[in-house]
Symmetry: C2
Subunit: 290 residues, 2 copies
Amino acid sequence: MIPDLPILPNLTDPRLTRRVAGTDQTGAGIEISVVEERPLTIYLNSQEIVTAMTIGDYPEYLALGFLRNQGMLKADDVVTAIDFDEEIETVVVRTGRQTSYEEKVKKKTRTSGCAVGTVFGDMMEGLEGLTLPAVEVRTSWLYALAHQINTTPSLYLEAGAIHGTVLCERDRPLVYMEDVGRHNAVDKIAGFLFQHRVPASDKILYTTGRLTSEMVIKTALMGIPVLASRSGFTAWGVEIARQVGLTLIGRMRGQRFVCLSGEDRLVRDADPASVPDEGRKHRRKGAGDD
Amino acid sequence: MIPDLPILPNLTDPRLTRRVAGTDQTGAGIEISVVEERPLTIYLNSQEIVTAMTIGDYPEYLALGFLRNQGMLKADDVVTAIDFDEEIETVVVRTGRQTSYEEKVKKKTRTSGCAVGTVFGDMMEGLEGLTLPAVEVRTSWLYALAHQINTTPSLYLEAGAIHGTVLCERDRPLVYMEDVGRHNAVDKIAGFLFQHRVPASDKILYTTGRLTSEMVIKTALMGIPVLASRSGFTAWGVEIARQVGLTLIGRMRGQRFVCLSGEDRLVRDADPASVPDEGRKHRRKGAGDD
C-alpha cells in the first residue's frame, strides 16, 4: 500500500547528517551540519549491479528505481523481496523472473550526472515509441510548487550540499527525496512509482539539478510528461526532451523561468508579475546546488 | 612542453555551446546559450574503459586524468600515443606497459559525483602512506583566487549548467577547466599534471563543486595539499581529508569560508572584513552549481 503522502525530508533521522567542528574565516571555532555519504551496493537477485554513494535513506526505493531506470527491472516484473542489510550496506532486489545482466553491467557510461552503469543505447531504446500524455500544466502550479519546495524544511536548508527531486501532482508536492547523488534522488522517485504502481502520466517532476540528457531520459522513462528545475540545461537534454515531447522548464527562480520544450502543455494562468522573488533565506546557493 | 599559462575557458569554441530558442515566463520568445553534452569513449590500449558525457574540450587531458585517477595509469607509465577521433568520439591512450583492467572495469562505484568506474577500495589504497606537503596557504591567496575565478569570462557565466575546476599556484589560476561533469573537470586537471609532469605539491585546487569523498580522494591522489570550494561538504569528504591531512575549505563566498581540515596550513594574512561581497553578476547560481 502507498505510504501517507506527502513524503518529506526527514530532519530527525540522525543517520543523515553529522555535526562537524572547524573554523570560519576569522579563525573562530564553529560547528556545522554536513550530509552523510555512504556506499550502498545494489544486487539484482544473485548479481552485484552497482555501488552507489548515497545519503542512505530509502535504500529500497533507490535500488528499485535504479534497476528500473537501467531497464533491468521490467514494468511487469514481480519483485518477490527486497532485503536491505544496513550493516553490510547492501540491498538485494529479488524477482520472480530470472535475470542476468553480466554483459550489460560491463558496459558503462559515465554521464554528466553520475549514473554509473547507465547505458544510453538501452535507455534510448526504452524511449522508442514512447508517447507522453498531452496533459495541461498550469504555470500557477509551477510557481506554487517552486515556492513550497524551496521553503519546505529540508536537509539542503540544514546542511547544504545535497540535491532534491520532488514528485508532484498539480500544485502539490507528493514525494520529496534528497540525496548527495542527484540521480539517486530521481531513482528513489522511480522506485516509489514502481513499488506502489503509482500512475505517472498526471505528475510533474521538479529537480534542483541540471536538466541533462540523463535527467530527461529518466523522467521520460518514468512516463512523467513534465520536468522542471531551478537549474540550467544541456543541449542534449533539450534535444531529447523535444524528441520525446517532454515539457522542459529550467532556470525557475522567483517569477522567472525558461521553457525549451513542450510549450504546448503550458497554460499560462499566472501573472509572473504577481510572483514574489525568492527570499534570501530560501534562495538555493551553490553550496547545495552542486 | 607545457602550453602557455594560464589556460582559460575558450568562449570562442563553437562546439562547446549552442543557441537554443524557447519562451520565457511571459511567453515571449527568447534564445539562450546552453552547454553541449556529448559522449567520449576512453580506451586504454585495446580495452574500452568508459564512456564519459563531456562538454568535449581537452579529450586527451580528460582521458589521461581519468585513467590516472582510476589508478590505471601509473605515475611512471610512458604514454606512447593519444589518439582522439572526433568523428567516432573516442580517445585511445597507448602505453609502453601492457595493461589489462578487465576485472577492474567490471567493478563499479556510483559516487555522489559521477565517477563511473571509480573503485573506492583501489583509490583508498592509492592514499596509503601518502603524505601531503606542509606548505603554507595564505587566506589572501584564497580570496584573490575566488575573486579572479568568479569574474573570469567562462562558459558558466555564458551558459550556466557547467562546473569549473581550477589548478592554482599561490594567488594565480593556472589551468581553468570546465565540464558538464564535475569530475571530468578535475580529471582534465589531473591529465594536465600527468602529461606535463607538473609538480603538484605547491598547488591549490579550486572547484565550484561539492567537497565529496571523491573530490577529496582525487585531489589527494594528484598530490595537491589544498582543496577549496564555494560549495559545501559531505561527512565522508571531511573524514578522508583529515585522514590524509588535506586542507579542506568550503562555502567560500565573499569574505566567508569554512575550514574543516588541515587548518595548520592556513596563514590568515587577510582581513576578511576587507574582502568585498560577491557581485550579483558573478554570484554563482544553482543553474550552474548543480
